[in-house]
């Protein structure tokens, strides 16, 4: 088994790489010019965070892999992101709702490495946390406006929430990797992550006049390399140029 911290870094790095990639698909196609620019900023932050986290993962691994090698030369079964992140971007309601659910989670989840004892990781997590606070604010304001806007926007926001909610269970699963990085002290794992997230999300969704679905959580597997059918296609596109020219410099 690879070192737990390496595995942990792949997880939170891949979350951001994949979600950043999905959001970047909006560039040039946003609902209004100002929002097009805002979405690109969120993508840039996420991909930047991914680059730092994956570079650190590569350093810890010590086999000469950097962020680019990890991003472009792993297959889908080697990716460790949440399945929610890889789902196609959908409409604006889907993209914003996913960003909201993810950012609300990341806002709490990043406290783990920030409070941990790994200096490099602490630094990256602190930077990511700062950026994430803006993402959360932006997405929250949009969830409220969609939920409490027009009939159509309410319907779309509720549909997005209904679709996304069952994927959120994966965010709170703990396994050996989490236990090991906690034991090392690199990450302080909070026992009350889920209830705190749920309280924050419930409050905001209430203000947006949206209803939390009662549907059960889905089966998962992203953390172990079991993905949806969407990730393979996404990576095929992302990796095509790099893989067509092995050994090339860009």
């Amino acid at each position: 088994m690879p070192a737990p911290l390496f595995e942990y870094l792949l997880r939170i790095g891949d979350d951001r790489l994949v979600l950043g990639h999905r959001n970047s698909e909006w560039c040039g196609h946003g609902p209004i010019l100002e929002e097009d620019i805002a979405l690109a900023n969120i993508s840039l932050d996420l991909i930047g965070q991914a680059q730092l986290l994956l570079n650190l993962a590569g350093q810890l691994e010590g086999q000469g892999r950097d962020a680019d090698t990890l991003a472009y030369w792993r297959d889908d079964v080697q990716f460790r992101n949440l399945q929610m992140a890889e789902l196609p971007k959908g409409d604006f309601a889907f993209t914003m709702m996913r960003q909201f659910l993810f950012s609300a989670w990341a806002n709490l989840q990043l406290e783990g490495p920030i409070q941990g004892n790994h200096e490099d990781l602490k630094g990256i997590a602190a930077k990511a946390h700062k950026e994430n606070r803006y993402h959360l604010r932006h997405a929250s304001e949009w969830v409220i406006r969609m939920g409490d806007g027009t009939e159509e926007s309410h319907r779309r926001a509720q549909a997005a929430l209904d679709e996304l909610w069952p994927w959120t269970g994966e965010m709170f699963q703990q396994d050996d990797v989490d236990r090991a990085v906690a034991e090392q002290g690199a990450v302080v794992v909070a026992a009350d992550l889920e209830p705190r997230w749920r309280a924050a999300v419930t409050d905001l969704l209430g203000r947006a006049r949206l209803t939390i679905p009662t549907a059960p959580m889905r089966m998962t597997g992203g953390r172990k390399g079991r993905h949806t059918e969407y990730l393979g296609r996404m990576l095929a596109e992302m990796q095509i140029v790099a893989r067509s020219h092995p050994g090339a410099t860009w």
């Binding site: 209004i32 010019l33 100002e34 805002a38 900023n41 304001e141």
Partner: protein
């Protein structure tokens, strides 16, 4: 903005003022379209501070800005031109005093 036909709407226009670091005053950066103040602030942040140019932002609905008329320019601003005693260069310092 009443809820008239918003189908083609690009939202109302807001003027954006950003404050550069170092205690400088806010200056006009440009404008953004936004439905309300919170989104106007966020849009201004995303559009006008992409390179970290600001420490603070003001936004104000463009329609609320009152401006002097071009025709007023003469009567309003020319009188300031013939009052050289308002400028420090008007006053001589004795020879030898370099730092004042």
């Amino acid at each position: 903005m009443a809820t008239t036909d918003t189908s083609a709407s690009e939202w109302p226009l807001w003027e954006v003022f950003t404050q550069p670091p170092g205690g400088k005053p806010h200056e006009h950066a440009g404008s953004v379209h936004a439905p309300d103040a919170e989104i106007a602030l966020q849009n201004a942040r995303d559009v006008y501070t992409r390179r970290g140019e600001a420490v603070s932002i003001w936004v104000v609905p463009s329609v609320l800005i009152s401006a002097s008329a071009p025709g007023d320019a003469g009567p309003w601003f020319d009188p300031g031109n013939d009052k050289p005693y308002r400028h420090p260069q008007f006053y001589k310092t004795p020879r030898g005093v370099k730092v004042f």
